[in-house]
Amino acid sequence: MTSTSTSGDDAVLEARTPLKTRLQHAWRPFRESSRVSRGLIFSGLGIIAAFLLLAFVGPLVYPYDGTQYRAETSPGEFTSFPELAPPSAEHWFGTTKDQFDVLARIIDGATLAFAVMALAVSIAMLIGVTLGLFSGYRGGRLDRILVTAMDAVYAFPPLVLAIIVSFVLAAYLSPGVPSAAAAVGLVYIPQYFRVVRNHTLSVKEEPFVEAAKSFGARNRTVLGRYVFFNVVQTVPVILTLNAADAILVLASLGFLGYGVQPPTPEWGYDISQAVNDVAAGIWWTALWPGLAIVLLVMALTLVGEGLNDVINPLLRAKGKAGRKIKGMPRARRRDRSRRAADAAEQDDEGLAAKVRDLRVGYRTASGPLWAVDGVSFDIKKGETVALVGESGCGKSSMGRAMLRLMPPGGVVGGQVEIGGTDVATAPESEVRKLRGEGASLMFQEPMTRLNPLERVSDHFVEMIRTHKPKTSREEARAMARDALVQVGIPPTRIDNYPHEFSGGMRQRVMLALSIVLTPRLIVADEPTTALDVIVESQILSLLERLRAEENVGILFITHNLGVVAEACDRVAVMYAGKIVEMGPVDEIFTNPKHPYTRGLVASTISLNTTELRSIGGYPPNLIDPPKGCRFAARCPHVMDHCTESPPELTEVGPEQRAACFLYPGAGQPVPEGVVAPSGDPQVSGI
């Protein structure tokens, strides 16, 4: 279990929020977790409850106890139990060679297991947490020694350690619950130690603790609360898994003969007593105690795993890939000739990509969400189209959908024609061939997009030879060198690993990978967001050269309008999954029509900006989008019918279209007296 470092802001938040809110906050991932995780937890809890009942009510209800070998049939009259009797109405699980009732021993064994488990886990937690707090708080040499010691203990086989501890303890204590618990518990100290120590250490260096220190001794309280809240999230998982392990170690000690004093009923010891029965083909003495161990350990593990799933969001289940969403427009199937005709037509038009009524949806817990909802546009060859909008408006979903690269649970509808292939409907093999060769995708974060275990050359050779199988390794490497030279990376570095490059260089490597097969379309999804200004302008001029020289069509996804003005020909403005305005870059900047575009342009700083404007409010919830115009709630010009039906994209200027009822043709007549705003938004505002 490793610790998670938390940023200062989070830490402040966590330390100051009241307990109740924090607990509600902690409960939320549980409510949002998958049915599987909850199922795991509840079935585990159910089994544990059954065992608790067995352990604590069983002895009162069941007529025999575990070390009883005879029953009183009438006052003063005793009948011995049979030896090694198979399960019967009298002895449900049979009897042992010592004439004990197997079920009675299992019941008593459960009581013992719970006692040892509780004591062992408490010992481990108490010592581990205390040492962890102390070590993390003190720091320095003592901390280093303790950490190494704990690591050493952690690396040592737990069972062997438990054996040695019980071996040494046997000199002081007679075998029993306390000594077994101590032997089992000591083994798990390092796990608690690590978690608590790491959290303590990380919070100690937080600025707010430093600040608190200067006001007095409050830092201990802050420290305590912070560590407590973080530990509360990890410890339940460790705790249940330890409890599971404790049962196993206890049984193992018992099996080897170092557990509790015979003939005390203990599952592991009972199994060791059954070893000779097995050779004679007697199964009931070994089977039942083992089954008890398996069930209880499994139940505890299920709870631990389920909790881990809930707490660790990375593993939280998402949907299965490709599941149909209701309301999905049926894919239009076309015959081959039609498709070929389309391709020819597209070539005539000089289009890099043709997008019609594109829809991208995700399955979510609260219903389907259409991140892109009916978008149409073209990208010509040798043209750069910018796609702009706020975060979460569907830009990146659209970029992915252009290559049908959907996360699990995502679906694409409509039509995306690239080089004669309809990406939205073509079979996977066809789309795969298109990716990288016909159309490539540049990602936002260059740092994590290259496989850390492969050299840069491997990336190239693998990709080139996938698409052009006849290319030799050497030819592929030569192509890779050319591409690297084009993006300004010395070809001598072709055999370096990704981690040997800076972020800017990695993005250039990604660009080289995108262009090496000269695709007709490059989708660049915020390729310069993570980079500094100088690298950004290098990447932009590279893209510009590709567009001009190689006649590549580029879809440039960004939220940076400055970049748009510098690098793009046309702009598509996206809002809440729809394109609200589209036009040449100059028109969009000097004469935006849609109120949202006006707001967007006005909110960027330029030389004439006297005050910074922003658009109030938030985009609508796409799970349940508004019936009418999606911008209506934030629009300064909102009219009655804006909330009733959605406006259509309509011609508002040369090659400029906007979806707004302020302009005739959007679907509803413009009421008298309403005048569309005009002029420079920087001056007039919206």
């Binding site: 071996f167 002081y172 097995v278 050779a279 275990l453 981690h499």
Partner: protein, 338 residues
């Protein structure tokens, strides 16, 4: 040496292992000396005349002050002398040489089973997430982890040896069945001497213990491989690899699977500890004459000196293995060399 070179990395790891060995041995010494009395009295007290016990204590240096004993212990351990048992005429080193091959043979066979099972089922579970296969794989992982290895072993004996009579349930191949001992590794010995009859017997004896232990370790592997596979499958570079139009099996194997295995190599260190613990149980269940079985015997005889020697040896092996794994990680993953 250059930063990031393998040589420098190995050197670094070696230097880091030194305090680890030091602290581990010190802890063991303290732990085993925490018991009152001395090993000779504990083992032989009442069975030998007091003079002889005193004599033996003197010979073993048990009358020296504790710090002298500690220094002797550390010095001896680091020069490969693990002392002499009280109840066995052989030295601990000799005992290790006699019994370790059996343990290593069992461990390697079990590892083979575990890796084959864990990696295939784990990777498939990760790929086929939330399908019946995945659920089955996960349940098997949890179930096998929850089953004590000695119990699984007994059930296997009950069914395959007693019920069906297919496989021997106890011991290694022995007597005339055993190959001529050369290395102590029976599989290897019977191949060297080309004794196919012996090889058959040796393997028959190996199957049940190795599969029992291997299933348990495999269960852990399944869980690890599955989780790592899930993580790499949604990693950025896997998406990028798909975006380059690579074939799905290339994406899965070269990009997702290979990186998913790295944390598994790292975790093998901890797995090794688990392997040893469960080897103790497996050897006991199948009366497999290995090192762990010897340790259990000495603990039963309360032979402190032998226990201390064997445990010290195990501790050194553990540090060695974790060092080896660090180096292996460095070989596979160029990033960690920095």
């Amino acid at each position: 040496m250059k930063a990031g070179s393998l040589g420098r990395y190995v050197l670094q790891r070696l230097l880091l292992a030194i305090p680890m060995v030091f602290i581990l041995l010190t802890l063991l010494f303290l732990l085993l000396n925490a018991a009152p009395g001395d090993p000779v009295t504990a083992t032989l007290g009442g069975r030998l005349p007091p003079e002889e016990i005193a004599q033996r204590k003197e010979a073993l240096g048990l009358n020296d002050p504790l710090y002298v004993q500690y220094l002797n212990y550390m010095g001896n351990a680091l020069t490969g002398d693990f002392g002499n048992p009280v109840t066995d005429p052989r030295s601990v080193v000799q005992i290790v040489l006699d019994t370790a091959p059996a343990t290593i043979e069992l461990a390697l066979a079990a590892m083979l089973v575990a890796i084959l099972l864990g990696i295939t089922v784990g990777a498939l579970s990760g790929r086929l997430r939330d399908t019946p296969f995945d659920v089955g794989g996960r349940l098997f992982g949890i179930l096998i982890y929850a089953a004590p290895v000695f119990w699984t072993g007994l059930l296997a004996q009950l069914y395959f040896s007693v019920e069906l009579g297919w496989l021997p349930s106890q011991q290694r191949a022995g007597g005339f069945d055993a190959p001529e001992p050369i290395t102590g590794f029976y599989v290897l010995d019977s191949i060297i001497t080309w004794d196919m009859a012996a090889l058959g017997t040796v393997l028959a004896h190996l199957v049940l213990p190795a599969v029992t232990l291997g299933l348990l370790l495999g269960g852990v592997f399944i869980r690890l491989v599955r989780v790592n596979m899930l993580q790499t499958l949604r990693s950025d570079y896997v998406e990028a690899a798909r975006a380059r139009g690579l074939r799905e099996h290339v994406v899965l194997f070269r990009h997702a699977f290979k990186t998913a295995l790295i944390p598994i190599i790292t975790i093998m260190g901890l797995q090794f500890a688990m392997l040893i613990g469960n080897a103790v149980l497996t050897e006991h269940t199948f009366t497999w004459p290995g090192l762990a079985q010897a340790l259990v015997g000495f603990i039963g005889a309360r032979d402190y000196a032998a226990v201390q020697g064997i445990v010290t040896f195990i501790a050194l092996v553990i540090v060695g293995v974790s060092l080896l794994i660090d180096i292996l990680t460095g070989l596979v993953d160029p990033r960690v060399r920095y």
